[in-house]
Symmetry: C2
Subunit: 507 residues, 2 copies
């Protein structure tokens, strides 16, 4: 086809506008969480609401539906991997999701998210679940009303999963997480200590914020952070955002008493940023120009944080750089000390502070509870008890109060149900990608140790990032690894590292 169909040109134009509006929203989010003066919050909320409404109006425009109707027969005859065929498919997906949910329900959910987060904050501060109970019950009711807008699903939770991880189902997830819990139990039983995770570790401070920031920047610039197209700022809840091509912004936070948070957090957000930055510019101004799912997104952040950042060769490269900026404890630390220290396993209460080994058990718990809440087998009032019982069963420890238990995460207050599992999916995918990557890059350990990150970045870009949203997560995994999503690679990787680091006695 030499000339572009007029309908296709019109569709591309609409896709461009939607992508630009989404980039603007990213900027507003970044600014709100890094730069905005506190008194600007109400106006910013209004402006965000307006931009969402303007975007929603364009996404649900019946003319967009007619363009898709007109183009789908043409797309069916094209290469399904072609940009235009993918664009039509993904815009159809976005359009259908948007038109099925009544504006009134979307508005109600948006209000409930704001109120739910406020109720959660108060409840957590008071360590009192009863103050959060009604907000959570409302969120569950709204999730059911949301599910009811769709049809053809096997399990209501499938609909929620699909918003975060296209192609994932409740059945698959139940099998994967069951197998993972079974595999982790003996590992944790064998090596976990009851000490709290941080401060005692090799990165215990105190270290000045400015020294930490310089240390983080040295590491980030070493792995591929380019100041011409990236920023690093401080945010209370760190995140990464791509505002547009050439504009990637990551955030971190500094704890005077423990450098580990800023260090691994920055590597984590770098992984997210690199994914966004690696999507080809030709896809940037379209819905294809974004990471395909939260799970795949998380696979990239966890890969840099854990599979790279907690590896022995990376420790060898990073330690002298870190010690130069942060003398104190690190000046007397060996690579072995560091490697063992950052891979130690602790039974702990708080998900975001958990180590790589126990982390996924926190997710297993949340998935079990979400499913029981959505299925109606767990009444909301019984949730704290079920939480505490699950922590005891999975981690072998007791929960002292709700703030260190069921109230520790904001997600449910914000109406995010089906989101937690993507953290673990990311861990599983990262380990699977890592096996393939190691086979493709036999020199990877030596490259990491000498600080040559170009081959790794190139591999990730050419195998994962390059597709943007063109391939679904299962397709992506299949093309790169030839496998379905599986638990074994993650368990293999973890066991090998724990043995190598001297944390686990070799079997």
């Amino acid at each position: 086809m030499s000339a572009v169909l007029p309908e296709l040109a019109a569709l591309r134009e609409r896709a461009t506008i939607l992508a630009d509006l989404s980039g603007i929203h990213s900027l507003m989010f970044w600014d709100q969480n890094t730069m905005m003066p506190p008194a600007g919050a109400v106006a910013r909320g209004d402006q965000s609401g307006t931009l969402e409404a303007v975007t929603h109006e364009r996404l649900t425009d019946p003319q967009l539906g007619r363009l898709l109707d007109a183009l789908e027969p043409w797309a069916a005859e094209q290469d399904p991997d072609g940009d235009d065929a993918c664009l039509i498919r993904e815009l159809r997906r976005d359009f259908e999701k948007a038109v099925r949910v009544p504006t009134s329900l979307a508005a109600e959910a948006s209000r409930a998210a704001a109120l739910g987060q406020a109720a959660w904050q108060q409840a957590r501060a008071a360590a009192d679940f009863s103050r959060f109970r009604d907000a959570l019950a409302l969120q569950l009711e709204l999730r059911h009303r949301y599910v009811a807008c769709f049809e053809g699903y096997e399990h209501p939770y499938d609909v929620l999963l699909d918003d975060f991880e296209p192609g994932m189902t409740t059945g698959k997830l139940r099998r994967l997480l069951g197998e993972l819990a079974d595999g982790l139990a003996p590992l944790v039983a064998g090596v976990a200590t009851d000490e709290p995770p941080s401060e005692s570790g090799p990165f215990g401070g105190p270290y000045e914020v400015e020294d930490q920031r310089r240390a983080v920047m040295d590491i980030l610039e070493g792995v591929g952070f380019d100041p011409d197209g990236w920023r690093l700022d401080v945010a209370p809840h760190p995140f990464a955002q791509q505002i547009g091509t050439g504009d990637v912004r990551i955030t971190t936070r500094y704890d005077l008493h423990d450098f580990a948070g800023a260090y691994f957090g920055s590597l984590h957000e770098f992984g997210h940023g690199l994914y966004a930055a690696g999507i080809p510019a030709r896809l940037a101004r379209s819905p294809l120009g974004t990471p395909v799912s939260l799970g795949v997104h998380e696979s990239q952040s966890r890969l840099w944080e854990n599979l790279v950042g907690r590896s022995r060769p990376f420790c060898a490269w990073a330690l002298p750089r870190l010690a130069a900026r942060l003398p104190g404890v690190l000046a007397g630390t060996t690579v072995d000390d560091l490697y063992r220290g950052i891979n130690a396993v602790h039974r702990s209460l708080i998900r975001v502070e958990a180590d790589e080994t126990t982390y996924n058990l926190h997710i297993v718990l949340r998935f079990e509870l979400e499913l029981a809440l959505m299925e109606g087998t767990l009444p909301v009032d019984d949730l704290p008890h079920a939480w505490n019982e699950g922590v005891h069963r999975l981690l072998g420890i007791d929960v002292p109060d709700d703030a260190h238990g069921v109230l520790q995460d904001v997600h449910w207050g914000a109406g995010l149900v089906g989101y937690f599992p993507t953290y673990t999916l990311g861990n599983l995918m990262a380990a699977q990608l890592w096996e393939t990557l190691r086979a493709d890059l036999p020199e990877i350990d030596a490259q990491l140790e000498r600080g040559d990150f170009e081959p790794l970045r190139t591999w990730l870009r050419e195998h994962v990032h390059v597709h943007g949203r063109k391939l679904s997560p299962p397709e992506l995994l299949d093309r790169v690894t030839g496998q379905e999503l599986a638990v074994a690679p993650f368990l293999r990787y973890l066991r090998e590292k724990l043995v190598d680091a001297g944390v686990l006695a070799s079997a």
Copy 2:
């Protein structure tokens, strides 16, 4: 009327969306000039263009025109000062301006602005007007095509002025600026020196950037900068922006060798910010919630920069604070030294470095040339010669090259014709407001000297800021001062100060 007319409710809703989109655009502009990594520029340009197009589509929606048609008969019976009557009037103004200009011309102008600025940069770097000549000729042609979209004007330049200063005409401006030039000539002849303005002054450095920043913040927090709702950042071309209620952002730049730029620049932008911040919150999400014109906006910035910042009582308040942060030269400076030094008069080539006395002569020159270019009496090729001749006539100095002459300002490259005069209009209005203010606040000098800025801020808010865009500039001036815009108050103020500071011998 107890219930709101449905058309009015619909109009208010549309106004809310337009105002929110405008606030978002302000955020994008601020970010682009302060935070954005350089490689993000192209994507940001695309996103700005998209937001402009989305806004333009809403502003030119025929349904908005129908709502205005339906509401105007109702508005004619209401108090013309009422919020709704003003909203209808100002939205009609915005709507008419938007629908009369074809989208293709607006797009062409936008492209020409980008190219014109690039051509200007190259020409200025080479001090060679010939490289800018074609871009300027195109801008003038586009301005003529823009003017042709309107009707009922006396002079084509009126149409351009109206975009920046509603109610101003070429005829009025010619009289005002002629009178001003006549009044300034003897003053400048009597006192101006040929030394260059900066570095030799009382703020000559070197001072570290961080010390300058702290000194600026001490002064700003003293006059009313509230960190809860304001930010100060660095920008190469300083500006002020209100993103939304409770979110005012000002910028400055630091010159190691002269603190004057950061100091007076910050006071200037503070004045702009205070105006925006002083507009009532109930007007915020509507076109009424913005400063009414560039001239009035500039009156507020110049008032803080010059009438306050260059006054003797303010020098007395500020000097010990500045000397504490910036010992060096300032530790040995007296209030009299400072007051005289910052009011010295220099014949100089560069507008943005000019002192308060000669500044307006730079504007007179630009106005004369803009008018001649638009009237066709001055061919573009003769502009550099006319510029140099004008500088000699008005300021008595010779222009060494085009970079220090006709190429010093970006405005014409960006297509801004009719903009320069608003700087002088701001100076004139500031002096007129100041006379009324001093009569209303007889203790103002003592208040400034002891750092009590609340009465001044309150007066400005209650007399100027409170109106937002509800009153046109001439109406505003009339209500506050009982006068039309005039030159005499500015000349009186200037002469008195120059005498008081010992720069001019008393007549």
